[in-house]
């Protein structure tokens, strides 16, 4: 299967637009889904987990200025990694699946949610997110595609399963057989407690970092330094 077959030919542009919307916009948008999350047994937990994740993502939108020599600006910011595959294996909970989906989306990634388990709930979640404004090309529900085919999608950047600890070894093995970029595996192996999702480092696995260095003297001189030199 090709990425185009799944997402459409304009997928790169769809990802780019979603990614450029910024964390604040996406978090606000995703927040709107909270009221209408499809009911599941762990609905209360979802209502606790998702706001925490969105709150964390919100802070990730900050452009961080970095210190350095005068006459140059240096900034670090975060950006989505690319296509994320979310799925669950037997025993996966809706709350953990939702956690992975919201994490991936909030960070600017397009998501393929596979209905290996909890298919009906996953489908309802995707419909809801489409309704509240998540572009269709950004979030795709697949019910019948075999997992092997999904794990082989050429443009995949990250796989975020909800699975057992021993299963992630197998998924890692499968992903390692691929050519091209090293696909990241960010598994939640605690379907009930979501202990990985709750950790502060978790969300950072869904992003890539970008630095932007500008020689500011090339467009406008070093006014700040000149001022320091004459008014200190």
């Amino acid at each position: 299967m090709t990425d185009h077959a799944l997402f459409g030919a304009d997928h790169a542009a769809v990802f780019e637009n979603w990614n450029r919307r910024g964390f604040t916009y996406r978090c606000k948008l995703l927040h709107a889904a909270l009221e209408q999350l499809p009911l599941a047994g762990d609905h209360e937990e979802q209502l606790r987990l998702i706001p925490l994740l969105l709150d964390r993502a919100q802070h990730m939108g900050r452009v961080q200025p970095l210190p350095g020599p005068t006459g140059e600006s240096n900034e670090l910011y975060l950006s989505g990694r690319g296509d994320v595959l979310v799925f669950g294996t037997s025993g996966a909970s809706p709350v953990a699946l939702a956690g992975q989906v919201f994490s991936a989306l909030a960070c600017g990634n397009p998501v393929i949610l596979s209905g290996q388990v909890e298919a009906a709930w996953c489908n309802r979640l995707v419909m809801l997110l489409h309704q509240i404004g998540v572009p269709r090309g950004v979030l795709t529900f697949v019910e019948s595609e075999p997992l092997e085919a999904l794990l082989a999608l050429p443009k995949l950047a990250l796989v975020a399963p909800v699975c057992r600890a021993e299963e992630q070894i197998l998924f890692q093995r499968q992903l390692a057989e691929r050519q091209g970029l090293l696909v990241q595996l960010v598994a939640e192996t605690d379907a009930e407690g979501c202990s990985t999702l709750l950790q502060p480092d978790h969300m950072h696995r869904f992003v890539t970092e970008k630095t932007r260095t500008i020689n500011t003297t090339a467009v406008g001189g070093n006014a700040t330094l000149l001022e320091l030199g004459s008014t200190a």
Binding site: G68, L185, T211
Partner: protein
């Protein structure tokens, strides 16, 4: 310390010249307070001088303020569009770039970029100058029209507005280009000498004279240097034929050495002293019979000593003997200015010919500060307060005007500051000197000087094509707006005259510190958190001499590397490997003993045993050990530089930078670790409660490092893993095991326990494979090729056993197909400098190196010509020689792969240029720097890790397709952007899926903590090395107890 007051003793300049020379260089980065204390003793005004100067300055200012026509030309423009306003900056930026843009599309975009975001209206009718008001109306109208294009949020506005915009673009462009021409007319006296002398005649009749200059960019190529040389000869011939006008002294010509030779650099001294000297002697031969004095302009501080050596050679030449016409410029903001003047006076006394000396305050102040900070130098060569420079100027002036210097030096005082002018007039007890001012500035002030003092005034006047000169002149203004500050206050009636006539000595004296506390020393720019790494300035005699001596002492040393397990060197396998220098394969550098498979297991066992202890060691203890290592590395700088030359083929500056980066890692990660491990981790649970967690190292980390940064990346990986609480097994690159072994020895010396760090030199098949197959390994930090990273990933994933319950962490930093995008607003000379450095420095063996130079087709020809010329000037050879620009590639395998690629490219692409290799290159593994032109990025294939730049042309309207192509290649490490259009640069940066983007500069040399380094896609997994998110990946969170 040099005693400044001693220069007034007539005996001082009778000392041997060499003794005075010795005083100059050590002041390069001397303690600023100490230097200024010395100068203050010399500059201190007597009460009479103080009173006279104040009265004179007050009178000058009153006269200027009373003059209705005092402010015009550049003064007027700067007054209205001050460089501390947004409009002023935007106007100058537009002037800097617009005239060189050949295509209307890009020109229109630049106009939109600069004009639509400022408040031009507030400048309307604020000025009496016709030029300024005409410009303001033009800017206001165009600014209004172009701003219709977009709403504040960046979305397009109505169709009609956009239509108006499109229809009016050609008109706006024409208006703007006309405005820039008018501006060029103000800044430049004439497009050629006849025009300049015609325009200057009126001033000459009023008693002024001129120094003409063919100002412009420094020459990058022999062709450019030849062009400048021809311009200078024409100027000399023309000035020589100019008739005497009234009492106005004969005009002169200023020459810029960096325009006359493409490599006017300290490290190319042999060429400077032969090729450049010969060229200037030709100018002297031409000028002297015509009695046209020549003044050598000042350049950056690093070239001062070279300039003086060259000046001495020229001055002592037969061609110059008996002539009083060869002079030079001395910058008072330099800590070395006064001893330089003393040396010149002593030289004149020895030889007997008078030297004209133009004393200026200095024009490169901000770039001097920036360069020193970038290079971690011991201090600044310039004063950090304006009043410090002013005091130095007056100290120099007192010396220049002293009786003993009459007949030796002809002082030429250049300033637009009324107080400085008044001070000179007060200090002078004779009239053997002149003033100088810039064309278009200070007219009213110097009209008064001419009227009152009867001292000659020379106008420094740029001559040449507006298109070439305006950008240069405007850049000088932008980079050093100091010239404009006094103009403002001089004519601003609200500014009390008493404020303008305060003596700089008094002002400086009133300060708590003589240096500027707001400008930290280069090693203090990161504040209290950590010290920046330091390095010597190899361009300064007093720093280079002792440093080179110590490096040389290590060059014949033979090093040895063996496995180190549990802190002890162990005998390796029978497999020994001789290490030979890549620059000369006959040169045996040392020997490496490879670790056996059994030793791999021993090392893992040792690490496993020590892990609990290391994880429980306080983070501050781990951090302090790493900080001690940083200090030890700095203490062993010379040894590592020698090792880097010998084993890795690195040039001198590359070697220093290598050690500096390692030092920065060893100070940055401790700071981050202490921050990270002090976080309180009370995390929410899904049931609403809180759980306490703590952070600890993941376990045993394997660090597999590359040969291209054998110390910096090696210690970056190892240091991060260690300080985060992991035990580390380090496998260095086979090619650079000696450097790594020496680093491990220093780690142990720094107090890192032997159990925490194991060292296993060896090849990937034996050592690497055994390590990555072991289930006890919790993580791998790897830098190298994408293919090897995939192999490691596969090996890690195939591990079995109870320990492998979760996948090992793999932090991989891999290759790049790095592009630089250049649009037609870019400054071609800067582009080529940055492209050559980015593509060829370190023989292109940097992950960040430029591989694809993407040129907007409208400017491609000019840039390709410059690139060819600049490549012809590169010097390839022994990396231990200061004159070497490019050393060898690492080994035969790399060499043959790169040469094969070049051959393949010759079939599919157009060979643009190739720098020839010297004969001696046969002894080593050298690859000639090569530029080829391709049609598509995918023609390159895999990353070529060497000195090869692929040039690709693109049409301005296809910029987005180009970005798509770059993204489609799948790599995402570095990107360079050269554009004066900030919106264009921002657009490219946002769209490109790249880890590190550099705008209007080179794209290599990421600094720890400043430009965290790492890519995306095929270029690596992240997180970025040297960034705030790196250490957490070496740790895990462990629950402690539930609340």
């Amino acid at each position: 310390m040099f005693k400044a007051i001693d220069v007034l003793d007539p005996g001082f300049i009778r000392q041997p010249l060499s003794q005075i020379w010795q005083l100059i260089s050590p002041l390069y980065a001397a303690d600023e307070d100490q230097v200024l204390r010395e100068l203050m003793a010399l500059a201190e005004p007597s009460s009479d001088e103080l009173a006279t100067t104040e009265a004179c300055a007050t009178n000058l200012i009153e006269q200027v303020r009373a003059d209705d026509g005092a402010i015009h030309m550049i003064d007027a423009l700067l007054l209205e569009y001050s460089l501390d306003t947004r409009e002023g900056i935007l106007l100058m930026c537009l002037a800097e770039a617009l005239m060189r843009i050949p295509d209307s599309e890009t020109a229109d975009a630049l106009i939109r970029d600069k004009l639509s975001i400022a408040d031009w209206k507030r400048h309307l009718s604020q000025s009496d100058s016709l030029l300024v008001n005409a410009s303001t109306w033009g800017l206001l109208l165009t600014g209004k029209v172009v701003s219709l294009d977009e709403r504040e949020d960046g979305t397009p506005s109505g169709v009609i507005n956009r239509l108006v915009n499109r229809l009016s673009e050609p008109v706006i462009r024409k208006v703007m280009q006309q405005a820039m021409k008018i501006m060029g007319h103000q800044f430049v006296l004439g497009r050629d000498m006849p025009e300049a002398s015609k325009r200057g005649r009126e001033y000459r009749e009023r008693g002024y004279t001129y120094s003409f200059d063919m100002l412009g960019e420094a020459a990058l190529t022999e062709a450019d240097a030849n062009k400048y040389y021809t311009d200078y000869t024409r100027a000399i011939d023309h000035v020589g034929s100019m008739p005497q006008v009234g009492s106005s002294p004969k005009p002169s010509v200023s020459i810029k050495l960096s325009a006359l030779h493409p490599r006017y650099e300290v490290l190319q001294e042999a060429r400077v002293m032969s090729e450049l000297a010969e060229r200037v002697l030709l100018l002297i031969r031409r000028a002297r019979p015509l009695n046209v004095a020549l003044t050598i302009d000042a350049e950056e501080a690093d070239r001062l000593e070279l300039s003086l050596r060259l000046f001495e050679k020229l001055y002592r030449s037969e061609e110059n003997r008996g002539w009083d016409g060869l002079g030079l410029v001395v910058q008072a903001y330099s800590k070395r200015a006064l001893p330089v003047l003393a040396w010149l006076a002593a030289l004149a006394q020895e030889v007997g010919d008078r030297i004209p000396v133009r004393l200026v305050k200095g024009a490169y102040w901000d770039s001097e500060i920036k360069l020193c900070q970038q290079r971690g130098l011991a201090g600044y060569p310039v004063f950090t307060r304006k009043e410090g420079t002013d005091v130095s100027y007056l100290a120099c002036a007192r010396f220049l005007l002293s009786e003993q210097l009459r007949g030796l030096i002809w002082p030429q005082f250049a300033s637009h500051n009324a107080h400085t002018v008044a001070s000179i007039m007060t200090l002078a007890e004779h009239a053997d000197f002149e003033f100088q001012r810039l064309h278009g500035m200070g007219d009213a002030l110097y009209d008064q000087v001419l009227k009152q003092a009867g001292v000659a005034v020379r106008i420094y006047a740029p001559v040449g094509n507006h298109k070439d000169l305006l950008p240069y002149l405007v850049r000088r203004l932008l980079e050093n707006g100091a010239n404009s500050s006094f103009v403002h206050r001089l004519v601003d009636q609200r500014c009390p005259i008493t404020d303008l006539v305060q003596h700089p000595w008094q002002l400086l004296h009133s300060r708590n510190s003589l240096h500027n506390p707001n400008i930290p020393l280069p090693t203090e720019i990161y504040g209290a958190e950590r010290k920046a790494s330091s390095g010597p300035n190899i361009l300064i005699e007093s720093e280079w001499g002792p440093f080179a001596e110590q490096v040389n002492a290590y060059l014949n040393q033979c090093w040895q590397a063996d496995p180190i397990i549990a802190g002890k060197t162990v005998a390796g396998t029978a497999l020994h490997s001789d290490v030979r220098s890549p620059a000369d394969r006959d040169n045996l550098v040392g020997q490496v003993t490879y670790a056996s498979e059994g030793q791999v297991i021993e090392a893992i066992d040792a690490a496993e045993r020590f892990l609990p202890t290391w994880q429980q060691t306080a983070v501050t203890e781990r951090a302090d050990a790493l900080r001690r290592l940083a200090d030890l590395l700095e203490a062993h700088l010379e040894e590592f530089v020698a090792l880097c030359h010998q084993e890795a083929g690195k040039t001198i500056q590359d070697s220093i930078d290598e050690v500096r980066e390692a030092v920065d890692f060893c100070r940055y990660y401790p700071a981050r670790a202490e921050e990270l491990f002090s976080e309180h981790l009370d995390l929410h649970r899904l049931d609403g409660g809180l759980a306490k967690w703590q952070r600890q190292g993941r376990g045993i980390f394997v660090c597999i490092s590359p040969w291209n940064f054998p110390l910096a990346i090696f210690l970056g990986q190892v240091g991060a893993a260690l300080v985060a609480g992991n035990c580390v097994i380090a496998k260095p690159a086979e090619q650079t095991s000696l450097i790594a072994a020496r680093a491990i020895e220093l780690m142990l010396e720094a107090g890192i326990p032997g159990g925490a760090i194991q060292f296993l030199p060896g090849d990937g098949a034996t050592v690497g494979a055994a390590l990555t197959a072991d289930p006890r390994i919790a993580g791998v930090a790897f830098t190298g090729s994408t293919e090897t990273a995939q192999r490691i990933n596969r090996a890690l994933s195939l591990r079995d056993g109870a320990d492998a319950r979760e996948p090992a962490t793999l932090i991989a930093e891999t290759g790049g197909q790095n592009a630089m995008i250049v649009d037609s607003t870019a400054l071609p000379e800067q582009v080529v400098k940055d492209a050559v450095l980015s593509g060829f420095a370190s023989a292109g063996q940097r992950c960040s190196a430029l591989r694809v130079l993407c040129l907007q087709s409208d400017i491609a020809e000019r840039i390709i010509e410059l690139l060819k010329g600049a490549m012809a000037e590169l010097r390839i050879g022994d990396p231990a020689l200061p004159s070497t620009d490019i050393g060898p590639v690492i080994d035969e395998s790399a060499q043959s792969g790169l040469l094969a690629h070049i051959e393949r490219m010759k079939e599919y692409a157009k060979l643009l240029a190739q720098t020839p290799l010297p004969g001696k290159a046969k002894r080593g593994t050298f690859v000639p720097p090569t530029a080829v032109e391709i049609d598509r990025i995918d023609q390159i294939g895999r990353e070529q890790f060497g000195p090869i730049i692929h040039v690709l042309r693109y049409e301005a309207r296809h910029l987005d397709q180009l970005i798509d192509q770059i993204n489609a290649a799948g790599y995402g490490l570095t990107l360079g952007i050269h554009s004066r259009n900030e919106r264009t640069a921002a657009h490219i940066e946002a769209r490109a899926r790249i880890g590190n983007t550099y705008i209007n500069r080179n794209q290599i040399g990421a600094v720890v903590g400043v430009q965290p380094f790492g890519g995306q896609g095929l270029s690596g997994t992240g997180p970025k090395a040297g960034g705030p998110h790196y250490l957490p990946r070496f740790t895990r969170l462990i629950p402690t107890n539930a609340q």
